[in-house]
């Protein structure tokens, strides 16, 4: 049995290719059926996200699984095999396991360390499992991949820093306030990015969201969405002292939050910290407000710099994660080898016993009637022969169970003794 992963990702294919190869969720059960019905296929799983389409299969050793999966992809997505093949990669055996571990741990993601891919992989696995197309070898590898991803997240800081502008704002708010529970947020203007930041803040525990906007209807809609309340635009100045976080995204062509205004606000707050997130272009917050004690102003470029710095940090952390992956792949290979040794030994012994019995049966007529003692002596002699024949291969398989060439030895013995696929 062999493991193969075929696919394409943002590393190898542009979005116009990825979108053509992507599977709709509802089409996946049918696709899994067609995949597993192909000759030589044992198990199959399909991962389809906006950044990658991958097919993981286990197949019989004798099958041409790589070509078969390529054909499957082309047929399933109605594209020419020659058109898609330049974008496809194939991983076999240990390389496939490494790739799977890297994907699960988000080392192969467009944004290294992002958590969504693990959820997407789990969904793909659950679907395949429910559908019965994952049940043995692939099941074992997938389960291990999830554990490896968990280990990478626990032992490295790969996912600890924010890599989106909205989330970076939340992380900064946490650096300022600690817990965001009980904090009050004011949205000045109603831009899309402000909405996204507010959503993240709400999830992070912010209890009270106020909205002010020149267009009242838009403010009403946002306030309803966040279960907040609307503040009249003219009341902005007197609302500010009660607010901990301001997200400014108004389309005003001038500064709304000036240094003079904010000086008065921070005095009224008795210098309790305040976080101003200015994602408007042109900016809504006068940059010199950041020089006031207790007020922290981050504009869109500042947040972008934080994101870039975090991304660089993640790439550095990824080296640590790669070491864990290497260690885990080796451990997995050892486990798989030990898993293969015992069934091979049992198969070998059964095969030799079969040969012994059939040979005794074949010559029994020529020997005439045998006494029980003679029968016993023949059994003992033939058993001795097959045990001596089996001794060397069995000893060698056990000895090399943990060596890299162990797998090769098992395959050779299976081939020599015609043990079939196990």
């Amino acid at each position: 049995m062999k493991l193969l992963i075929t696919g394409l990702s943002h590393h190898t294919a542009p979005v116009e290719v990825r979108e053509k190869l992507a599977f709709e969720e509802k089409s996946l059960p049918g696709a899994l059926d067609r995949l597993c019905q192909r000759p030589g296929m044992v198990e199959g799983m399909i991962l389809s996200t906006c950044n990658r389409v991958e097919v993981a299969v286990t197949a019989e050793e004798s099958s041409d699984a790589a070509n078969s999966v390529d054909e499957f992809l082309a047929e399933a997505r109605s594209v020419e095999p020659s058109w898609v093949s330049p974008y496809l990669y194939h991983y076999n055996g240990p390389d496939a396991i490494r790739h799977l571990f890297r994907v699960a741990s988000s080392l192969d993601s467009m944004i290294v360390g992002e958590p969504q891919i693990l959820g997407q992989l789990k969904s793909a696995y659950m679907l395949a499992k429910e559908h019965g197309s994952v049940s043995g070898f692939l099941d074992l590898v997938m389960t291990r991949a999830f554990n490896v991803a968990k280990r990478v997240r626990t032992e490295t800081e790969i996912g600890s820093s924010a890599v989106s502008v909205s989330y970076a704002a939340v992380e900064l708010a946490r650096d300022i306030f600690g817990s965001l529970s009980g904090k009050r947020v004011l949205l000045v203007g109603a831009g899309k990015m402000a909405e996204s930041a507010a959503r993240h803040l709400r999830r992070a525990g912010v209890s009270d969201i106020l909205v002010t906007n020149r267009t009242r209807s838009r403010a009403d809609a946002l306030a309803e969405e966040f279960r907040g309340r609307v503040v009249e635009y003219d009341d902005l100045a007197c609302t500010l002292p009660d607010v901990d976080i301001v997200i400014a995204s108004s389309g005003a062509p001038h500064f709304i939050l000036t240094k003079d205004l904010m000086q008065g606000v921070i005095n009224r707050r008795r210098h309790r910290p305040m976080f101003l997130i200015d994602i408007a272009v042109p900016r809504n917050v006068e940059p010199t407000v950041n020089t006031l004690d207790g007020i922290f102003v981050y504009d869109i470029d500042d947040l972008d710099r934080v994101v870039k710095s975090n991304l660089t940090a993640r790439v550095n952390v990824a080296e640590q994660a790669e070491e864990i992956i290497t260690e885990e792949v080796e451990r997995m290979m050892l486990r798989l080898k030990s898993r293969e040794v015992t069934p091979t030994i049992v198969s070998l012994q059964e095969q030799l016993e079969l040969v012994r019995m059939s040979e005794i049966e074949r010559v029994r007529a020529k020997l005439g009637v045998l006494t029980p003692q003679q029968q016993e002596a023949i059994d003992a002699m033939t058993r001795g022969i097959i045990n001596k024949i089996a001794h060397a291969p069995i000893t060698e398989m056990r000895r090399k169970a943990n060596d890299p060439e162990g797998i090769q030895l098992i395959h050779t013995i299976r081939k020599l003794f015609r043990l079939g696929e196990g």
Binding site: I176, F177, G178, H271, N290, G294, F296, D302, R305, V306
Partner: protein, 272 residues
């Protein structure tokens, strides 16, 4: 009449102690539930302190300001009157956090103008001193925590202001957490140092009679306590944080260290 003046003054000090209790609760629990009661006892204390001053003035035939105790007494009385006026006119109750303890301690000191009887038992004397030392040291430990947290606050604040994220500094706690730690440690520091000072003043008074006032190391203790009170007040009223708070905490801690050094030879200095 002088004896009854001392009596009224000491009763006034006990009433002012309710004000001190209010300040401690306000600092530690951030609650003002006790303020109404403390203000009531404070008003009665002011009346009794006034009675004590009038009695003493009548007994001596002049305003009793010829010595340290007299001036401290009058000063405490005037501060108390000023507070009551400001509170009545402007409802500026937040100053009570600083003025209640100040008036209490000044009145306590003023009530020590007559020598007290000597220690009845040397074990009580030693135990009293040990309680004083332990209270002050716990207070200093809390102030050390305040100073360290304030410096961390400053570093974290600068990191956030400069919009840089070096990995080492990212490990610092959030500003909000540091701020809570500063408030709590500062509050406990103030409470323990105040109690330590009260115990210390009473010990010195019984030990040295009225001469303790001239002792330089005790004056240094008062300075440390006064700075600590100022730090608490500036934080509670003006919201001092960041640079100012860190600087103030370091000054108070430095002054506390000097006081400790000055008291290093406490027993040989105080025991004749």
């Amino acid at each position: 009449m002088a004896d009854s003046s001392i009596f009224w003054l000491r009763v006034a000090a006990v009433l002012y102690a309710m004000g001190l209790l209010h300040s401690m609760l306000a600092i530690l629990k951030r609650r003002n539930d006790f303020y109404g009661f403390a203000l009531g006892t404070f008003r009665v204390g002011v009346v009794l302190q006034g009675v004590a001053i009038v009695e003493l003035a009548m007994a001596e035939g002049r305003l009793p300001v010829e010595n340290f105790y007299g001036t401290v007494n009058l000063c405490a009385f005037l501060i108390a009157l000023a507070f009551l006026f400001v509170d009545w006119r402007y409802h500026f109750a937040s100053t009570s956090i600083a003025l209640f303890p100040l008036v209490f301690l000044m009145t306590l000191v003023a009530g020590m103008r007559q020598p007290a009887p000597a220690w009845s038992d040397v074990r009580v004397r030693d135990a009293w001193l040990i309680v004083h030392i332990v209270l002050v040291l716990v207070g200093y430990a809390a102030l050390l925590l305040t100073a360290v947290s304030s410096v961390f606050y400053l570093v974290q604040e600068r990191r956030l202001k400069s919009k840089k994220s070096p990995s080492l500094l990212e490990k610092l706690p959030p500003l909000g957490t540091l701020d809570d730690l500063i408030s709590t440690s500062m509050g406990f520091g103030f409470v323990f140092i105040t109690l330590g000072v009260i115990f210390g003043v009473m010990w010195a008074y019984i030990e040295l009679g009225t001469k303790w006032v001239g002792n330089a190391s005790i004056s240094l203790s008062f300075l440390t306590w006064g700075l600590c009170l100022a730090m608490i007040f500036m934080r509670a009223s003006a919201g001092w944080r960041g640079r100012k708070a860190a600087l103030m905490a370091l000054v108070v801690l430095g002054c506390g260290a000097l006081t400790w050094v000055a008291h290093a030879g406490l027993r040989p200095t105080l025991i004749p």
